[in-house]
Subunit: 538 residues, 2 copies
């Protein structure tokens, strides 16, 4: 690396395209409100550019560009994305370029073909005309005061096939005044050393800043981006959680901490970086997708230790099995409790809850976990259920309520519509309570009936609400004799927790998770009479 | 790269540790039967080594090693994993080494500390004693006829901290007769150029073959493995789907096609490579985990195109947006149908089903999809539901049955246990049928009652069974008014399909998916009277 690119490297600009390329991902769909909310969060986090969409392509994107102007972003510049003018047309008459202008963004990103094969096979025009399209479109936008980036689509494949032509496309944009040339690895199949050597060659032949935009089809998007930065790219394009077409775009959630914590480059402030985990999980929530628990840096499992020897070592020295301090990205160390785990994991979890349990009790809870996991329960995602077992193992534990009966009915009758009704009978402090409630569905009806029965005695439960409900059929090859596992998430306005239930009957599995959640809420509420802790010495 | 490492590179050995390190992943649990089944599949696929477990650590692993001997594996050698002897002990008295011998595997993999910090902080012994532990244990296993690999734990961190000591550990093993030295990037935080330069230095100072074992904490496990191979490693360790502790191990499902299709190395046969997608999905199924649809090469979305311009280009020339031909890894090109997609995607899906639809009908189905997605449906994973719409849009379409009423009851009474019962009323060819059935749960009871009503008239439905059932609460911030989305998978012994239903009531959502699945089964069964195709010309 020469000294010039080292000097440039000291400042990296993050260009987020979650709102545009990210929404091309299968299963991803964001409303205009979602996009505005995410834009605000990206700005707070400290990204430098936010690509909001393709204004000409659909009404949702056009609405976004109008509303984003009054959002009051602090740092991030908004970019509108679109293609260069149509072949043999004039910029003034080009609907796409006009839509880009109407978006009134400080930044315009123009995508252009840089692989001769695509010019021939997809664009169906001459190579000279494609260069003219680039030149005219960049100059047109520059003349109208925009900061202009050129996204050179399929650049690496194009460079491999015809380096002179690929470079000619970049130089046409540079000559027309482009502010940055973004090398796109569109098909995502390149390997890091290929990316590094092509970027180095381009760096030597161009003057304006270079950007990198890669996809993850070879599983190397993160490494390819880092390799490009090493070779001189200063603008890094990608998406939160790697959302995007096919296998996804370069994952900024991994790239940013790699750049900042591993490569020593300044990207965002240390304080902003601590917001990374929250931002990543928020984006998943907004996209209505399960957050990838195995995501580097930000996943729930990223610093979770399951192997007995790992946990034992982490209890001795936390950095023995962790590549960074998870707090730097806002994540945390966890010990996973499962049938494979040792007593150490359980003791770790108990301690982090302020409970002390003795060895015999830890062993007893571990046996119970193994037996229930055999029935189909899973405790790795349901820490509240494990906490309950830790409470219940105490000799003087008295449950706050006991279940007696329940019944739930759902029917749809021609002309009368749909109804769900439940009755619940519980015993609280010796007295029986029988309640009935309706609901949007059977589990909702049950939850209402149970809450009605308990809230009379424990009014603090009124703030508890169900926030997510997940069902999984286990041993599906057993057909209808299969076990149903239900995970229910609750929130009381301040904190969230998850409980698990399993049964061949979905209603019973739900019922077990529901009632455990209420019991957990009662035990851990502020000022609750927790059972007296039993000391380690027993 | 020198000529020696180039020569070595021509032959790569895959060492799969899904059954050992993979099961350290959170959410992963495999029974002994599962492990044996997977071992057979790995052998058929062509991996060279299968690490079965840690014989001393739990009874499940011990059972595996006994039973795997009679499995008749064709090519793969089974490896048992364990640590070097305890400090200041004798190999003859070491329970762990004895368990390794009792496993009776051709290969033994010994894990040793190579980071001085771990020797001090975790092992709590002298550095010289650690070298003796390595030397003694390797020699002991070699004297008993085993092929011995040394897993040098935390090698890269160790080499950074104290290169002389890390190298001394390797040389102790080499001198004692180890057959390969495996460099482990245990904490997973390294970057590719660091890995490449360390491997190159080690390659220059050692003689026996080198292996690479990395974790994915920096999101670079695939690239780190490829970099190590470039620098001279010939044994590649990893797991299927990247399963493993924290964020996971190096993903063999990505690495193998990269080595073979991108780097030109011979790993498995072309025929075996076409089994990659099936193997990857099978492993997920076995582990009871959702297969990652965005996984490189093998994911359901890996070659799925959603963006309108991508689909249009792929319809013109399939290699314009794909880095490889998906058939080489047993995957396929798909066009995703969603509110963002154009008519082209729908026409592509219709064609791949042997249906031709005209432009107006395609537009009508697209409008319907947009409306239903707004209600909470999702069609990207439920292609059967889209197929049904394509059928229904035909003017002369008559549904094989119509729903009238249903009722479902679940109750739990003290001393009487649990029951679920359903009644269903349908109209088939003008006649009403009312049936009742019990089930393990409400959806099962409904499915039985519906199947009973239909099987009288359509006995071929008897083979259809429910294989998976997934529930998702949408807009969870709306609390109990939230929409429930249900995806149901069915299989009839020959093929599988998925339908979707959405409603605030889980039973109604399930009912819609259930009845659509039955309709789909009837429409697409062999010899069914499909509606006459409408030509593109209209």
């Amino acid at each position: 690396m020469d000294t010039i690119s080292k000097a440039i490297m000291s400042r990296i600009f993050i260009y987020d395209t979650t709102l545009r390329d990210g929404t091309q991902g299968e299963e991803i769909s964001l409303s205009c409100d979602d996009k505005l909310t995410l834009a605000r969060r990206l700005d707070e986090f400290g990204v430098h550019y936010i690509e909001g969409g393709w204004p000409g392509s659909n009404p949702k994107d056009a609405e976004f560009f109008t509303r984003v102007r009054s959002l009051g972003l602090r740092q991030a510049k908004v970019a509108a994305f679109g293609s260069t003018r149509r072949k043999h047309g004039r910029c003034e008459d080009d609907a796409n370029l006009q839509a880009l202008l109407d978006a009134e963004t400080p930044v315009v990103t123009l995508v252009a073909k840089s692989w001769d094969y695509h010019v021939d096979a997809v664009l169906d025009t001459t190579r000279e005309e494609n260069l003219a399209m680039v030149r005219d479109s960049v100059a047109y936008m520059k003349a109208r005061g925009r900061e202009v980036f050129l996204d050179a689509e399929h650049f690496f494949d194009g460079y491999k096939a015809n380096p002179a032509y690929a470079l000619a496309v970049l130089l046409a944009a540079e000559e027309a005044g482009a502010d940055a040339l973004v090398l796109c690895e569109t098909n995502g199949g390149a390997l890091p050393w290929e990316v590094e050597s092509v970027v180095a060659e381009v760096r030597a032949r161009t003057r304006v800043p270079l950007g990198i935009h890669v996809h993850n089809d070879s599983g190397c998007a993160v490494a390819n981006t880092l390799a490009a930065v090493r070779a001189g790219c200063t603008q890094v394009q990608g998406t939160l959680n790697g959302y995007g077409e096919r296998v996804g775009n370069a994952n900024l959630t991994t790239i940013i901490p790699n750049l900042q914590l591993k490569m020593g480059l300044q990207v965002v402030s240390a304080e902003q970086l601590r917001g990374l985990t929250t931002l990543s999980r928020f984006a998943a929530e907004l996209a209505n997708l399960k957050h990838d628990s195995h995501a580097p840096y930000v996943g729930a499992s990223a610093f979770a230790h399951k192997g007995g020897i790992h946990v034992a070592a982490v209890l001795k020295a936390v950095d023995t099995y962790q590549h960074i301090d998870p707090e730097r990205v806002g994540n945390e160390t966890r010990a996973v409790v499962s049938e494979l785990s040792g007593r150490g994991n359980l003791v770790y979890q108990a301690r982090s809850r302020g409970l002390e349990i003795n060895r015999e009790d830890a062993q007893r809870v571990l046996h119970q976990i193994k037996r229930l996991e055999h029935e189909g329960f899973t405790f790795e995602a349901a820490e509240a259920s494990v906490d309950l077992m830790l409470y219940r193992v105490s000799r003087d534990y008295t449950p706050p309520f006991e279940l007696v009966d329940f019944m739930v009915l759902t029917e749809q009758r021609h002309g009368r519509g749909l109804l769900s009704e439940a009755t619940v009978k519980v015993r609280i402090e010796g007295a029986l309570k029988l309640t009935a409630a309706e609901g949007n569905g059977p589990v909702d009806a049950l939850a209402h009936a149970l809450s009605k029965a308990l809230c009379d005695v424990y009014p603090e439960l009124a703030t508890v609400r169900l926030t997510d409900y997940k069902v999984r059929i286990l041993d599906s090859d057993k057909g209808t004799a299969a076990t149903t596992r239900v995970l229910i998430d609750f929130h009381d306005g301040e904190r969230g927790w998850t409980t698990v239930g399993a049964s061949p009957n979905i209603i019973e599995a739900s019922w077990r998770a529901l009632s455990d959640s209420m019991e957990f809420a009662l035990l851990t509420r502020t000022g609750a009479n927790r059972p007296a802790p039993v000391s380690e010495a027993g």
